[in-house]
């Protein structure tokens, strides 16, 4: 197939020869990350809001999220393999778990760190809980939540490279094949494009953060 019989040893030549594949796998990688992060944002913000109301739950939930982070990614992908089978689903599910901690923690901290006088003013003026959350708490916590989301994205772009082991595709395909075939160029291409993807996604989020603040 494509990667195998490359005679020219230079990295540039390798990239030129595999440009189609690079593009395809980068898009796959991107999709994996974006889907996982979007779902994680929804779950993470909801959990963060929940534990901001029920303070007793906060340590337990944050602890569980933290433990998930300590499990080696290779093992976690493997654990969900029997549950979701080979492919995209297992990849996304595992990545969601890795995203949770920064999103949940930053949502929780962002909300609980707001000056209590502001919240009391909102209560005192007769705003209901839903209004206070949507008009006061979330907008004020937003920069911190956004920072959490950016952390999650950058981290998960890296972890997603492992997802190719469970057949979820992505740039990890280059890396793992390169390792198994002693092809240093393949490993390099995988690593370089994973990093590039992380930088690009982070810059996009930075722009989104800036735009959403005005």
């Amino acid at each position: 197939m494509f990667i195998y019989g490359v005679s020219d040893n230079s990295l540039i030549a390798y990239m030129a020869a595999n440009s189609d594949k690079i593009l395809q796998l980068s898009l796959e990688h991107c999709l994996l990350v974006v889907v996982a992060v979007l779902i994680a944002i929804a779950i993470g913000i909801a959990l963060g809001i929940l534990i901001s109301y029920y303070d007793v739950l906060a340590p337990a939930i944050l602890y569980v999220c933290q433990i998930i982070m300590t499990i080696p990614s290779l093992a976690l992908f493997g654990l969900f393999l029997p549950l979701f089978g080979i492919g995209f689903k297992t990849g996304v599910f595992t990545l969601i778990l890795y995203c949770l901690l920064p999103v949940v923690r930053n949502t929780y901290v962002g909300i609980t760190e707001i000056d209590p006088a502001i919240i009391e003013a909102a209560h005192g003026m007769g705003m209901n809980e839903a209004s206070i959350m949507s008009k006061i708490k979330l907008p004020l916590a937003w920069p911190i939540i956004m920072a959490g989301i950016r952390t999650a994205v950058v981290m998960v772009v890296g972890i997603a490279a492992i997802a190719s082991v469970v057949g979820a595709g992505g740039l990890g395909v280059f890396i793992f094949r390169g390792i198994s075939q002693w092809n240093i160029n393949a490993v390099l291409v995988g690593a370089i494009f994973v990093s590039l993807l992380a930088i690009i996604l982070d810059q996009i989020l930075k722009w989104v953060e800036y735009r959403s603040q005005v």
């Binding site: 000056d115 006088a117 502001i118 009391e120 003013a121 909102a122 209560h123 005192g124 003026m125 007769g126 705003m127 209901n128 209004s131 008009k135 006061i136 907008p139 004020l140």
Partner: protein, 371 residues
């Protein structure tokens, strides 16, 4: 309007009640000041009215209705709430801050925007300039005025104010107080006002409730409180200089003559000015522009040294000793002392001079009081 019956509040993990068996009746249109040292329960009392704090015992009736049986959100939307400047929402524009309660009440957007403009005008902020600014770009005094505008947005009958002018400098505070007094004369809200500053209480209040350790010590008009403090605690709170404090009970507009005062124009002849000073027996004469707005004063000693051909405009002092008609005689006195003058010019809302109060007059007043 507001009636507290045997209200007691005991906070968790605390044996002594923050508020202890308090009875208080606040009538419609009255400004009631809760005053006392910190920890006396004044803020807790106020917060029980709009249910930010739930009383342990007793009941609070608002227009005859028990507030514990009312929907807290609706109750609060119909009670204006002003706290120290920190209570503005920092991420919202001034207009959005003021529009908070009308939006919660789901007014039509057009009506809300008109109301915002109206209120900003009312508190003396130009809507065109301030509407779209964030609270951080305003001065402390301006933020406080936005706070008042926000509380008035849905035209509530009751206004709760928790040390609203506590975080601003003394000059701005006096200004805000006078503005609020003027506003209140027009709006006639029922106001519950918390402060630890007895001078502010005397100046702003129709009635003053002095509190100590959760108890109501004395409930009286400022006049009675000054003349008959119930016990040593109240006397100590009022402090010395009672004659000076009484000056805060009288507004400048109550003592000035109704007939217009004589003024000069920048191009008036020096002769006229001299004549005026001699006949009026005053140390200075106000100078006004064509719209009768005060632009400065001319002092007697300057004028006497002046040549006949000189221009009034040249000897005009623009940084004058001025207070408005809403100020008290106490404000007038401290302004005189600040400027080191023996007079103060009183201006109306158009900044037209409408009277002069002299130091001698204030001395006479204090002497009679003391006697």
């Amino acid at each position: 309007m507001i009636r507290l019956n045997g209200v007691t509040k005991i906070y968790k993990n605390n044996d002594t009640p923050a508020v202890n068996n308090l009875d208080l009746h606040i009538t419609r249109g009255e400004t009631c000041i809760l005053v006392g040292p910190s920890g006396c329960g004044k803020t807790t009392t106020m917060k029980m009215i709009n249910r930010l704090v739930t009383p342990t015992r007793g009941s609070i009736l608002i227009n005859g209705q028990d507030n514990q049986k009312m929907n807290p959100v609706e109750l609060r939307q119909n009670i204006g709430y002003v706290i120290q400047e920190i209570g503005l929402f920092p991420h919202m524009t001034i207009a959005d801050n003021v529009a908070t309660v009308p939006r919660e009440k789901k007014w039509p957007e057009k009506k809300i925007q008109n109301r915002v403009d109206e209120l900003l005008h009312l508190v003396g902020l130009d809507p065109a300039e301030y509407r779209n600014r964030k609270p951080a770009s305003l001065s402390g005094g301006q933020r406080q005025r936005v706070g008042v505008a926000r509380a008035l947005a849905a035209d509530p009958d009751i206004l709760l104010m928790d040390e609203p002018f506590g975080a601003v400098d003394p000059i701005t505070r006096t200004h805000l107080q006078n503005q609020f007094i003027r506003l209140q004369e027009e709006l006639k809200k029922t106001v519950v006002f918390v402060t630890h500053d007895i001078d502010e209480a005397i100046k702003m209040g129709d009635t003053i409730a002095v509190m100590r350790a959760g108890h109501l010590v004395q409930l009286d008009t400022p006049d009675q409180l000054l003349s008959e403090p119930k016990n040593d605690f109240v006397s100590a709170l009022i402090g010395g200089n009672r004659a000076i404090k009484r000056l805060n009970l009288v507004k400048t507009r109550e003592v000035i003559d109704s007939k217009p005062i004589q003024t000069l124009k920048p191009d008036s002849p020096v002769d006229t000015a001299r004549e005026l000073l001699i006949t009026s027996q005053l140390p200075a004469v106000p100078v006004v522009d064509d719209n009768n707005r005060l632009i400065g004063v001319v002092h007697k000693h300057v004028l006497s040294a002046l040549k006949d051909q000189a221009d009034i405009a040249d000897v005009l002092e623009t940084d004058g000793c001025v207070v408005d008609t809403g100020a008290t005689l106490g404000d007038a006195l401290s302004t005189m002392l600040n400027y080191g003058e023996r007079y103060v010019i009183i201006v109306d809302e158009n900044y037209s001079p409408c009277g002069i109060i002299s130091f001698t007059y204030l001395l006479e007043l204090m002497k009679n009081d003391a006697a």
